[in-house]
């Protein structure tokens, strides 16, 4: 019998992909950062099953896949709250499970959040591009999971010791800082605009959250000379609404960057889904701290 584990997908889910820590040194060639959208949740999943932090895990968006496991192994599900069933019986999130060979893992909808992580113990035998498995649109789409995909995982172990890692409850407004065009567009205008509740729109994805609110931000600063954008950048679109750039965003943009999300709050944006409301702090992070 083969030593390695094979997992095969009989259903893919809306957007299931392999992720890791991403790429952080190729932005000057136009390569997005990529990587897990919620790094703390991703890290907890790998830690639960005893994997190194750079081992890939499966990122599940809104609806889960259906996966067959050829061998016994350890798995863990973290991030969003999603109902998971092993051979038809519900299993808990945020804890390690040792599962028997020939198991089937299924999911029903997420009850909270938008992205969950499924880690599986072992060495993943998967192709990387520039040191990462994270898919890059049009260039490296190997690990956007499709139905019937099979992945080999070497040396899976089944350590029976139980382990649970509580998911911290994050429930605060998004902290932000002035962006490079904050003053150009007008501090007062930006502050007033960001105070409104922002609705997450359907066309949000790993590249960014498209947001809409009641009043648009009117300015004559519609475009800038193309310049760098980074995850967390809040770009003002010509229609007066904003897009909040995330891990798969382009590296260069031509819209005014009115604000930037505080770096510690970026991963928590992974858990917003279309229809949710997002609230920014009334004051920017510097003013809040009186800097």
């Amino acid at each position: 019998m083969a030593k390695h584990l094979e997992i095969s997908f009989s259903k893919a889910g809306i957007y299931t992909s392999l992720q890791d820590q991403g790429r952080n040194a190729y932005q000057h060639f136009g390569v997005p950062n990529g990587g897990a959208m919620d790094i703390p949740a991703f890290n907890r999943a790998n830690a639960l099953v005893g994997n190194a932090a750079d081992e890939p895990a499966i990122e599940i968006t809104l609806t889960g896949p259906e996966i067959y496991f050829s061998k016994s192994c350890q798995i863990a599900i973290t991030g969003a709250e999603i109902k998971a069933y092993l051979n038809g019986l519900e299993i808990a999130n945020h804890t390690k499970h040792v599962i028997p060979a020939k198991s089937v893992l299924t999911f029903s909808n997420m009850t909270k959040g938008a992205r969950a992580y499924l880690a599986i113990n072992g060495t993943w035998n998967v192709e990387k591009w520039l040191g990462s498995v994270s898919p890059v649109k049009n260039i490296f789409e190997n690990h956007i999971i499709k139905k019937a995909r099979v992945i080999k995982i070497l040396h899976p172990t089944s350590n029976p010791l139980p382990l649970t890692l509580k998911s911290p409850i994050i429930n605060h407004k998004i902290r932000w800082l002035p962006g490079p065009e904050y003053d150009k567009v007008g501090a007062g205008k930006v502050n007033r605009f960001l105070k409104q509740g922002q609705k997450v729109m359907n066309d949000s994805n790993r590249m960014g959250l498209r947001l809409a609110c009641q009043e648009s931000l009117d300015t004559n600063v519609k475009e800038i000379i193309s310049s760098a954008v980074i995850p967390g950048t809040i770009q003002l679109l010509p229609n007066g609404q904003i897009v909040l750039l995330l891990k798969d965003a382009q590296t260069i943009g031509g819209y005014p960057r009115i604000a930037v999300v505080y770096s510690d709050d970026i991963d928590m944006l992974a858990q917003y889904k279309p229809g949710d409301y997002l609230y920014f702090e009334a004051k920017n992070w510097l003013d809040q701290r009186g800097v």
Partner: protein, 235 residues
């Protein structure tokens, strides 16, 4: 030069608010010096037309300590190692240009004139973005200036050479695209297996030359057979 915070883990070095070779050359000098300095705790450096974004680890720097450090580096004499800054000579089959009709109409130039304007000048790689390996090159002669397509293509063939405004670029993969296509090169811009996987480097010079369909096919076969090396393009 002005250094601004760009969130709490990046800063932005801004130069004169224009797209010009002069501004870009100043910027590239600092970019090369910054890269050569290999400072600890720097995550990424993204140069563009008139700005450089520097991402840093918060454990290593505050905005003001890194700002001071960069200001000191900016006073350094250019360490620009000329041997590192190459010129690339890129073959283009203009017979495969799909948008000459539109461009001729807008620029009121003949196809031959457009090709000669595109091949007679050395262009500079200003920045890379949009998709990995997509290099924004310029400055095109003013006469060649044309608008983007009103309806962008959902799929542009890999290697398509295109123009828009006063810029030119090559599509590195099959991607959507809105620029006007004037030709195609068989040269690959990405080599995933290479240690240095991108052909273009920001700041390098590029010169195009015309090849016919037969020459394109020969070169294309050579590339497919794995017998082509990027070093053949260096001047």
């Amino acid at each position: 030069m002005e250094i601004k915070a760009f969130g709490d883990a990046a800063l932005l070095i801004e130069f004169k608010n224009e797209i010009s070779l002069e501004v870009h050359e100043t910027l590239i000098r600092l970019y090369v010096n910054l890269t050569n300095a290999s400072l600890d705790g720097i995550s990424y450096i993204i140069p563009a037309y008139n700005s450089i974004c520097v991402g840093y680890k918060k454990e290593h720097y505050s905005f003001s300590t890194l700002k001071n450090k960069i200001e000191l580096i900016s006073f350094r004499k250019p360490l620009l190692n000329q041997s590192k800054n190459k010129t690339l000579y890129i073959p283009v089959c203009y017979e495969l240009g799909a948008d000459f009709k539109e461009i001729c109409k807008e620029t009121e130039l003949r196809k031959e004139t457009i090709i000669s304007l595109h091949t007679q000048k050395y262009f500079t790689v200003f920045m890379q973005g949009f998709v990995p390996g997509f290099a924004y090159m310029g400055v095109l002669p003013e006469a060649l200036k044309c608008s983007r397509k009103t309806n962008p293509r959902t799929q542009v063939a890999k290697g398509s050479v295109a123009i828009a405004g006063v810029q030119t670029a090559i599509y590195p993969g099959n991607t959507p695209g809105g620029w006007q296509i004037i030709g195609r090169t068989p040269i690959p811009l990405l080599d995933s297996s290479a240690e240095d996987p991108f052909l273009f480097k920001t700041g390098w010079k590029v010169k195009f030359h015309a090849i016919n369909q037969d020459e394109f096919n020969v070169l294309d076969r050579k590339v497919l057979a794995g017998n082509f090396k990027w070093s053949e393009l260096y001047g």
